[in-house]
């Protein structure tokens, strides 16, 4: 607890994230109204006139839509980042372990993949297999691979310079074994920090994809599509545009602050500057 009090960013970010996760899980068992229930009579009702946050162009309850949207947004973000992290860390640590041409290839591939932001690859994939959760997960996951590969490689390279790795090498341990026993445990903290920040990026990307219509398909609720739908009613019902955006911003802010806070704790050297 003392550590938390000394890091307000960590505390605040952790609280927001926790609240978000709780909301997402709660939406699986309870929402104020069924999120897909259409009630034309309360169409475009402003906040407090129908439900806490009003209703959308189909008369659906916005608070319920936002809650269910949190589940979709977070689950896609989590799965995509996890996949990207698994692939990227594998490539990055191996590049650091083997050096030479293996490293060269991995880094070139990372350069290439980096040129395909999630939206770009999502459009390619959506053109082939149509929009959907899979499209979003693959697109966001693929973009995370080079990010983690670069972070894991540069961190692993530093570990490889350390004395205890030298000792392990002279004891005849192989590159793979050293990677598992010495490198991974020592870069795990850094990777968790990066993953938290990537989660924030993934939530942003997911919102962008569903805004374009290549993410979660209707009628599943999604923050990005709520924003895209709101464009038609921008002047009549501005709350349709404002509320989902606030939800996205809050979620991203929460994960970013959590990531910054974790970094402060794990790597205090960087603290002054950030």
């Amino acid at each position: 607890m003392k550590a938390l009090a000394r890091h307000p960013t960590l505390l605040l970010g952790g609280l927001v994230t926790l609240l978000l996760l709780a909301t997402a899980f709660l939406s699986r068992v309870w929402t104020p109204a069924p999120p897909t229930q259409i009630q034309i009579t309360r169409r475009l009702a402003p906040p407090l006139e129908a439900g806490l946050l009003g209703a959308d162009h189909f008369g659906r309850d916005i608070a319920s839509l936002l809650m269910a949207g949190a589940w979709n947004s977070l689950s896609i973000a989590f799965v995509a980042v996890l996949l990207g992290m698994a692939g990227g860390v594998l490539l990055g640590t191996l590049a650091a372990a083997w050096r030479g041409w293996a490293e060269e290839i991995v880094m070139r591939l990372a350069d290439v993949t980096f040129a395909f932001p999630a939206v770009l690859s999502a459009i390619m994939i959506a053109a082939l297999i149509g929009p959907g959760v899979t499209t979003a997960v693959i697109a966001i996951g693929v973009f995370n691979v080079p990010v983690f590969a670069r972070v894991a490689r540069s961190a692993a390279l530093q570990i490889w310079e350390r004395d205890f790795v030298l000792a392990a090498r002279s004891a005849g341990k192989g590159a793979l074994l050293i990677t598992f026993h010495h490198v991974l445990p020592n870069i795990a903290g850094l990777l968790i920090v990066q993953a938290t920040i990537q989660l924030a990026m993934a939530i942003l990307a997911e919102a962008g994809l569903s805004f374009l219509g290549v993410g979660v398909p209707p009628p599943h609720p999604s923050w990005g599509r709520m924003l895209s739908d709101s464009q038609t009613y921008l002047s009549q019902a501005p709350h349709l545009a404002i509320l989902p955006g606030l939800a996205i911003a809050l979620a991203v802010l929460g994960f970013n602050m959590l990531g910054d806070g974790l970094r402060d704790v794990i790597d205090p050297k960087l603290r002054r500057k950030r």
């Binding site: 770009l120 459009i123 082939l128 374009l212 921008l234 501005p238 970013n256």
Partner: protein, 315 residues
């Protein structure tokens, strides 16, 4: 210096080739029959055959790939299935919107971020610093397409100063065209500015601790002059790096923001091509976007050499 340029250039070519290969494999090899995807399941066999013929799908993949690359180099990008015009023409018009949009966004974000970062670093841990950090923290969290919506809500719906979207074209009235790009550029620039302000701040703070800054102060230079003459240039190196890394996000953002403001840019073209499953256009435009990102990162590499004389000699 020349050797460095050659090496960088070779790596640029390799990266471009790999990117084009990846796009080609995903869009033409993996799906098996691209023609069937483009026309959908209800297509008649003879229309399918005609399209296959037109796309040259009867030839081996490597031949088609080389053809495509050759076409890229000569400016012949093939024929769009849906638009029935050459993709080169289509793209040229759209680039005239997207490139100015991206340049404006970069200019706005840099003009905002570098001074903010400097002010924050010069007032480390004071009110101004905390203010800038708060702006940065919130700025990165705001999706640019949402910010675009909010700008429309405020500046066109409420104040009526701007139109809600669309693009009048450069030929008719360049000033009006520029004005149509202003809100989208601001929407794109905000998250960029937030990130860059943060990087500028931490980079300036780091340089301020360097010995040569003390040397400059010992010469009698004021804090301000030292900041401008000695700190800024050295501090810009990481800023430029991050600008390069952020460019792919700028491209992604352009696709979204062009859709918010219904700008006839490359991003909107890509979006429409996706809806119509026009793989020919998608293939070309995706490569164009990826090439843009790769090219900008190449330019960033060159900018290092200008900013840091130590790199000019390294080979």
């Amino acid at each position: 210096m020349i050797l460095l340029l050659l090496r960088r250039f070779a790596s640029l070519i390799v990266t471009l080739l790999l990117a084009s290969l990846a796009i080609f494999v995903v869009l033409e090899v993996l799906p098996g029959d691209p023609a069937a995807i483009m026309l959908g399941t209800e297509a008649r066999e003879d229309t399918l055959a005609a399209l296959r013929q037109q796309m040259g799908l009867d030839r081996p993949a490597y031949e088609r790939y080389l053809d495509w690359l050759g076409g890229m180099l000569t400016g012949d990008l093939g024929l769009s299935m849906t638009y029935r015009v050459s993709v080169s023409e289509l793209v040229a018009d759209r680039l005239a919107v997207t490139i100015p949009l991206a340049v404006m966004a970069i200019l706005i974000s840099t003009a905002l971020a570098v001074p903010l970062g400097l002010i924050a670093a010069a007032n480390h841990e004071k009110v101004a610093d905390r203010g800038v950090m708060l702006f940065a923290q919130i700025g990165v969290a705001i999706p640019n397409f949402w910010f675009g919506l909010l700008l429309i809500l405020f500046f066109s719906s409420y104040l009526g100063w701007f139109s809600a979207g669309g693009f009048p074209g450069w030929a008719a009235n360049p000033a009006l065209a520029l004005k149509a790009l202003l809100l989208p550029a601001i929407a794109l620039a905000l998250p960029q500015a937030a990130i860059l302000a943060r990087v500028t701040r931490s980079s300036v703070l780091e340089i301020l601790g360097e010995d040569f800054v003390r040397t400059a102060r010992a010469k009698g230079l004021t804090r301000r002059v030292t900041l401008h003459r000695h700190v800024l240039r050295n501090a810009l190196i990481p800023v430029v790096t991050v600008m390069g890394m952020q460019f792919s996000f700028l491209v992604a953002g352009a696709i979204l923001v062009e859709n918010v403001f219904t700008l006839p840019g490359l991003g909107r073209l890509l979006f429409q091509a996706m809806s119509q499953r026009d793989l020919v256009v998608i293939k070309d435009v995706v490569l164009l976007f990826a090439a843009l990102v790769i090219l900008v990162n190449f330019l960033v590499d060159l900018a290092y050499a200008w900013l840091d004389p130590r790199l000019r000699q390294r080979t």
